[in-house]
C-alpha cells in the first residue's frame, strides 16, 4: 500500500476511462445483433448490482485493499492463496487488453509490424506511469478525460452530419426475442466491462473521502454505460446488422465511412488516438492492481521496484496467450467469462461478503 491519496473527481474520471476503455472499440453485444444496446443496458444494471457487493466489502474494510481483507475474512493462508489468484487474474486481464490493443493496431494500420514491438512501446509507457505511483495515473486521467470527451463529441457530430445514421437498421426490435439479449448479458456484458470494477477494490482505499465512494463509482459506471450504449446504437444505425456482426472493430468501420465536404474522410486516426488513451488506462489500472496486490501479500515496502518485472510479465503474456486473433477472441468470448470472470468477479466476492457479514454481526454483538 503506498501513500497515495486521490480526490473523488479523479476516481470518477478513472472509472469512466477504465470502463469505456476497450468496450467501445470491440463489437460489444454483437451476438444480440441489433439489440446489442439492450444487452449493454442490462449489463450496466447487473454491473451496478455487482458493484454494490464490492462497495459493501469496502465499507467493512475501509483502508485496506482486496488482498488484505481477503486474508482477514478467510484466514491467513486461504486468504493469501485467493489473493495470489487475484493477482494472476489482474495480470491476465492486463495482458488481454494489451493484446486487444496490439491486435487492433496491427490489423488495421501497422500491418507488417510485429505485435511485440507495439505492445513493447505501450507497456514501457505504462511501467513508467506505475513506477511513479497511482496519483500520477489519476492526474493523467484528469487531463485525458476532457480530451476523450472532445473527441467523442467531434466524432459524433461528424457521423451525424455525414448522414450515416439510418435508424431503421435498429428495427425490428427484439426480432429474435429476449433469449439472445439475455444470453449476451449473462455471458458478456455483465463481465466486460462492468464486472471489471473488481479492480477498483484495490484502489478505493486511496480515496480521500470515503463517503463519496458509492456515488462516484456508480455515477462513473452509469456515464460510461450510457456512452457505450450510444456507441452501439450509432454503430448499428450506420453499419447495419450484418456489418456490425462481421466487423471486428465496428467503431472503426463507422468512422472510416465519414465523408464530409470532400476532404474530411478516413478519420481512422481519431479512433486510434482514442484507443491508445483508453488502452493505456485500462492496462494501467489492471497492472497497478496486480503490483499493489503483490506488494501487499509479499510485504514489499517499496512497490515501485515491482513495476518493471511485472510489466515484462504482462508483455510476454500478451504475446503468448493466443497464437492468432481468432483464438484470442474465442477465448475471450467463450472460455474466459464462465471459468474466470464469473468466479473472480461475482462468486468469490459474494462468498466473501457473506462471511464478512456474519463476522461483522458477531463483532457488533460483542461490542454491544
Amino acid at each position: 500500500m503506498e501513500n497515495a491519496k486521490i480526490k473523488a473527481y479523479q476516481l470518477f474520471v478513472l472509472v469512466v476511462l477504465f470502463e469505456m476503455g476497450s468496450a467501445i472499440l470491440v463489437g460489444l453485444g454483437a451476438e444480440a445483433k441489433q439489440d446489442a444496446w439492450m444487452s449493454i443496458l442490462l449489463g450496466l444494471g447487473g454491473g451496478l448490482a455487482v458493484f454494490l457487493i464490492y462497495y459493501q466489502l469496502y465499507k467493512y474494510y475501509q483502508d485496506i485493499p482486496l488482498t488484505s481483507y481477503v486474508q482477514k475474512i478467510t484466514g491467513k493462508w486461504i486468504g493469501r492463496i485467493i489473493g495470489v489468484s487475484y493477482i494472476i487474474y489482474f495480470l491476465y486481464s492486463a495482458a488481454r487488453v494489451l493484446r486487444d490493443f496490439g491486435e487492433l493496431l496491427t490489423s488495421t494500420i501497422y500491418t507488417t509490424t510485429p505485435l511485440i514491438v507495439i505492445n513493447c512501446l505501450m507497456i514501457f509507457t505504462i511501467i513508467y506511469g506505475i513506477h511513479k505511483g497511482f496519483e500520477v495515473i489519476a492526474r493523467v486521467g484528469e487531463l485525458f478525460f476532457i480530451l476523450v470527451y472532445m473527441m467523442a463529441l467531434v466524432g459524433f457530430c461528424l457521423i451525424m452530419f455525414s448522414g450515416l445514421i439510418h435508424p431503421e437498421n435498429l428495427r425490428p426490435v427484439l426480432e429474435n426475442g429476449w433469449k439472445p439479449v439475455l444470453k449476451t448479458f449473462l455471458m458478456e456484458t455483465i463481465n466486460f466491462p462492468f464486472g471489471e470494477m473488481i479492480v477498483f477494490t484495490m484502489v478505493l482505499p486511496y480515496l480521500n473521502d470515503a463517503k463519496k465512494a458509492k456515488w462516484v463509482c456508480m455515477g462513473g459506471m452509469v456515464l460510461s454505460g450510457i456512452n457505450i450504449t450510444i456507441t452501439a446504437v450509432i454503430n448499428v444505425a450506420s453499419l447495419g446488422t450484418d456489418l456490425f456482426t462481421r466487423a471486428p472493430f465496428p467503431l472503426l468501420s463507422t468512422i472510416s465511412k465519414i465523408q464530409l465536404a470532400n476532404f474530411i474522410e478516413r478519420l481512422d486516426v481519431l479512433f486510434m488516438l482514442y484507443l491508445v488513451i483508453g488502452g493505456f488506462f485500462k492496462i494501467s489500472i489492471f497492472f497497478y492492481a496486480a503490483v499493489a496486490g503483490t506488494a501487499d501479500i509479499f510485504g514489499f515496502k517499496n512497490q515501485t521496484k515491482l513495476s518493471f518485472p511485472m510489466g515484462a510479465l504482462v508483455l510476454f503474456s500478451s504475446i503468448t496467450i493466443a497464437s492468432n486473433y481468432s483464438e484470442h477472441i474465442k477465448e475471450g468470448l467463450k472460455i474466459v467469462p464462465i471459468y474466470i470472470h464469473w468466479p473472480f468477479q461475482i462468486l468469490i466476492p459474494s462468498f466473501l461478503l457473506i462471511i464478512a457479514f456474519f463476522k461483522n454481526r458477531r463483532k457488533q454483538k460483542e461490542q454491544s
Partner: protein, 402 residues
C-alpha cells in the same frame, strides 16, 4: 552532469522509434491506384487493369501533347484471384500498389454475370481499400477500356466518373452513387437486391487511350453513364434504362432534380417541369396477410420550359399542371417497379420494409420473396407543387398570338 548525459543519450536512442520503421512507405515508392478494372481473363480467371496516377503530370496544361504529359498510366495483370492478380502486377510496376485512394472499381459485364461475388471479399477485407469506393459495370466495352480512357475536363479520369455520377444523381436521377458497401449490404439482406451503375465508352475505342483524344473539342471517345444493372444474389440479371431507372433512384429517396415532360391541350411535349426537392416515403400495410406497398412522393419544383400558349399567371392552371406532373411521376415510378418486377429482383428494399414492420410474416415469406415481389401491389401517391416559373411569367408564345 551524469544525469543530463543519460537523459540525452536516452532521447537519442528513442528517436528511431518515432519513425515507424516497420510500416514505412515512402511516397515515391508508392503507386496510387486510382481506378481498378476487372475483366475476364483468357487463361486465368481475372484480368486486372490498374489506373495509376502520374503525379508530376497532373497539373500540367491540358493536352500538352506527347506521351510524357499523360496524367495516368495503366498496367494490367492476370490471376485466379484478386490478390493473386494484384501481386502479379508487381512484375510490371516499379512501385508498391497503394489502394487507399482507389475511387472506382469497374467490373465487366461478363464477370458480373457469374463471378462478381469472387471479387468482393478481397475488397471488403483489406484495411487499405476504402469501403466507400464506387463500383460500376462496363457496358458494351471492357473494364480496361474504361480505365484507360483519357478525359478532357477532369485531368484524372477517375474524378470524372465519381463526380459525374454524383452530379447526374442530383440533376437527372437516372444513376446514383453506389459504393461497394451499399452493394454488399443489399447483397446480404434477404429483403433487398443490389444494383450498380452501368458505364460505357462511346466512340472510337482505339483512340480513347491516346493523347490525341484530348486534342479535339469533341473527343473521339468519351465515357458516359448508361443505365442501371440489376443483380439477383450477386449475379447480373438485366439492364434498366432512362425513365425506368429514374423511378428506381426516386424510390430510394436519392433523386433531387430531373425533368418531367407533360403534354398541354393538344401539344404532346409542351411543358417541362423540374423538381427541386423530393421526399419519398415507402411504407407497408397488410391486406389479408398480404403486403401492399405505399409509395408517397412529396416534391416541389419550377416550370423550366413552356413551349406553348399557356397562362402561367393563373393559379388554377398551375394546379392543373401540378396534377399532370403528379400523373407523369406516378407513371414513371410504376414503370420502374414493373420493370424490376419483370426481372423478379426487389432492388427497392420492399422486403426489408416488410421485415421491419412485420417480422413474423417476413419469416414466412422470405423464402420465395422474389415471386411475392413480382406480384406485389404497389400504390403510388404523388404530391407535386409548382412553386415558381423562372423569371418570366407568360411564355412568349402567348404574346405571339398563335
Amino acid at each position: 552532469m551524469k544525469k543530463g548525459l543519460i537523459i540525452v543519450s536516452l532521447l537519442f536512442m528513442l528517436m528511431p522509434l518515432l519513425s515507424a520503421c516497420w510500416n514505412q512507405k515512402e511516397l515515391t515508392d508508392l503507386a496510387f491506384v486510382m481506378a481498378l478494372g476487372i475483366d475476364k481473363g483468357k487463361d486465368k480467371k481475372f484480368k486486372l487493369s490498374f489506373q495509376l496516377v502520374n503525379p508530376g503530370n497532373v497539373t500540367t496544361g491540358q493536352g500538352s501533347g506527347g506521351g510524357q504529359g499523360l496524367p495516368i498510366a495503366v498496367y494490367r495483370s492476370t490471376g485466379d484471384t484478386i490478390t493473386e492478380a494484384a501481386r502479379n502486377a508487381t512484375r510490371k510496376v516499379s512501385r508498391r500498389l497503394y489502394y487507399a485512394h482507389t475511387n472506382v472499381v469497374v467490373v465487366s459485364e461478363k464477370i458480373a454475370k457469374k463471378d462478381l461475388l469472387y471479387i468482393l471479399d478481397a475488397l471488403d477485407r483489406d484495411p487499405e481499400f476504402r469501403t466507400t469506393t464506387e463500383m460500376v459495370i462496363a457496358r458494351g466495352c471492357t473494364a480496361e477500356d474504361i480505365v484507360t480512357t483519357l478525359t478532357i475536363l477532369d485531368r484524372l479520369p477517375v474524378n470524372k466518373i465519381t463526380k459525374q455520377l454524383k452530379a447526374s444523381q442530383a440533376m437527372l436521377g437516372e444513376n446514383m452513387s453506389v459504393s461497394i458497401d451499399d452493394y454488399l449490404s443489399a447483397l446480404v439482406s434477404k429483403g433487398k437486391q443490389p444494383f450498380l451503375n452501368g458505364y460505357s465508352l462511346i466512340g472510337i475505342k482505339s483512340k480513347a487511350r491516346k493523347a490525341e483524344n484530348l486534342q479535339k473539342t469533341t473527343t473521339d471517345a468519351f465515357l458516359s453513364s448508361n443505365g442501371l444493372a440489376i443483380f439477383h444474389d450477386g449475379n447480373f440479371r438485366g439492364w434498366v434504362d432512362d425513365d425506368k431507372a429514374r423511378g428506381i433512384v426516386w424510390i430510394q429517396n436519392k433523386l433531387k432534380s430531373t425533368d418531367i415532360v407533360i403534354p398541354w391541350k393538344e401539344k404532346k411535349k409542351a411543358l417541362v417541369v423540374a423538381p427541386i426537392r423530393s421526399i419519398t416515403k415507402v411504407s407497408v400495410h397488410f391486406v389479408n396477410q398480404k403486403p401492399e406497398i405505399d409509395i408517397a412522393i412529396n416534391s416541389e419544383g419550377w416550370v423550366s420550359e413552356a413551349n406553348t400558349v399557356i397562362d402561367l399567371n393563373n393559379p388554377v392552371i398551375i394546379e392543373k399542371i401540378d396534377k399532370l406532373v403528379e400523373k407523369e411521376i406516378s407513371r414513371q415510378i410504376l414503370d420502374s417497379v414493373h420493370a424490376a418486377q419483370k426481372l423478379k429482383c426487389d432492388i427497392f428494399g420492399f422486403g426489408d420494409k416488410v421485415h421491419i414492420t412485420n417480422p413474423i410474416l417476413w419469416k414466412k415469406v422470405q423464402g420465395n420473396w422474389d415471386e411475392k415481389f413480382a406480384s406485389l401491389k404497389v400504390n403510388v401517391t404523388t404530391d407535386f407543387y409548382v412553386r415558381r416559373e423562372g423569371i418570366r411569367t407568360l411564355p412568349f408564345w402567348s404574346s405571339m398570338g398563335k
